[in-house]
Homo-oligomer: 199 residues x 2
C-alpha cells in the first residue's frame, strides 16, 4: 500500500509550504514550531512526527527556494547576449532575488546548520548554487577563449565571496545605504572582477 507514503508526503508538504510562507514574509525570526504547525493546520506536536525539529524543516526549504531563484534568474536573463553580458545579468538577478527576500538570504547564509545535517549536504548545495547558475556562461567564455579555466575559477570564487559579503552588509548593516547605492556598489564590484574579460 503506497497510499501511506503518498499521504505522508502530502502532510510533509503542508508543513514545508507553511514554513516557506513564513520565511518569505516574516523571515527566520518568526519561524517557530507552533507558528508553522498552525499555518499547516496541525498541532505543534504533530510536526515532530514528520520532522526532527523546525531546523530540519527549514533547511528542506532550501531546494525549493533555489528552484524559485533559478526560475527568477533564468526568466530575467533569457534575452541577454551570451557571455559576459549574460553573466552580469545573472549575478544582478541573483542579488535582486535575495534583496527581495532577505529571509531567504538569512536561511541560505546565516542560519546555523544543525550538527548532523541533511542527507543532501546542504552547505555545498548553497555555496555551489551561484556557480551552478553561472556555469553555462563560464563554459561559454572558456570555450570562446575569453578566459582560461584557471582564471575563471578564481573569478567565480571572488564573485561568490564579494557578492555574498555585499548582500550581508547591505541586508544586515545598511551598507551601502539605499538600494541605488547598493546597485552601484554591486556593478562597480562586478566591473572590477570582470574587467579583463570585457571583449
Amino acid at each position: 500500500m503506497k497510499n501511506k507514503a503518498l499521504q505522508e508526503q502530502r502532510i510533509r508538504g503542508y508543513f514545508i509550504e507553511a514554513t516557506k510562507e513564513i520565511l518569505k514574509s516574516e523571515g527566520l525570526k518568526s519561524v517557530s514550531v507552533r507558528n508553522i504547525a498552525e499555518k499547516a493546520g496541525y498541532s505543534f506536536a504533530t510536526l515532530y512526527n514528520y520532522f526532527k525539529d523546525a531546523k530540519d524543516l527549514v533547511f528542506l526549504c532550501v531546494q525549493d527556494f533555489q528552484e524559485e531563484c533559478n526560475v527568477y534568474v533564468t526568466t530575467r536573463t533569457a534575452k541577454a547576449a551570451r557571455g559576459e553580458k549574460k553573466l552580469r545579468a545573472i549575478l544582478l538577478a541573483w542579488l535582486e532575488y535575495f534583496v527581495q527576500y532577505p529571509g531567504i538570504f538569512e536561511l541560505f547564509f546565516m542560519e546555523k546548520l544543525s550538527d548532523l545535517n541533511k542527507q543532501p549536504d546542504t552547505a555545498p548545495m548553497i555555496t555551489g548554487f551561484l556557480d551552478k547558475l553561472c556555469e553555462g556562461e563560464w563554459k561559454y567564455l572558456i570555450a570562446h577563449k575569453t578566459v582560461s579555466s584557471a582564471v575563471a575559477a578564481n573569478k567565480k570564487a571572488a564573485l561568490l565571496y564579494g557578492l555574498s559579503g555585499l548582500l550581508l552588509l547591505y541586508i544586515n548593516r545598511q551598507t551601502p545605504s539605499g538600494y541605488p547605492a547598493f546597485l552601484k556598489a554591486a556593478n562597480t564590484f562586478i566591473d572590477s572582477q570582470l574587467k579583463e574579460i570585457t571583449t
Copy 2:
C-alpha cells in the same frame, strides 16, 4: 556627587565584561539576560536598570572588540614592510581574528541591529573598521603613486565585501573546508584584488 556616576559606570562595566566573556567563549547563542547577570553577579532584573535589553549590551561590546582586534592586528603586522606587504598582513590578521572568535564575527556581521540603535552609529562603525585598519597603508600607497585614490576606493570596497563573504561562508558553511583551504582562498582572493598594485 560624581560617586554615583562612577559606581554606575562600574556596574555597567561588570555587565559588559560578562557579556564579552560569553561572546568570546560560547558565542551569541549563549548570551541571555539571566546568563549575563549571573556572570556579572547580579539578578537578571538588575540588568534592566542599566541597559535597555541584552541586545543593547551586546552592541556595546563592539567598541571593545574592535580595540582588541586593532591591537591583535597591529602587533602582528608591526614588522611588515610598509605598503602592499603590510596591507596584506593586516587583511590576513583581520581574518585570523574572526576565525579565532567566530562569536565576534557573528556579533559584527550577523546579529540584527535593534530598530533604534545606539548613539554611536554601530553599523558604520563595523563596516568602516577594516578601512580604518588599512587606512595608513592605503594612504602610503596613494602618496607613493602606486595607486590612484579612485582605484584604491574600489579596491577597499572589493576587499571588504570579498573578505566578509569569505568569512561568512567559512564560518557558517564550512566553505572552504578546513583552515588551510580557507587561507589559500583568502590569499588567492587578496592576490587577485591587489595584483595591479604589486610594484
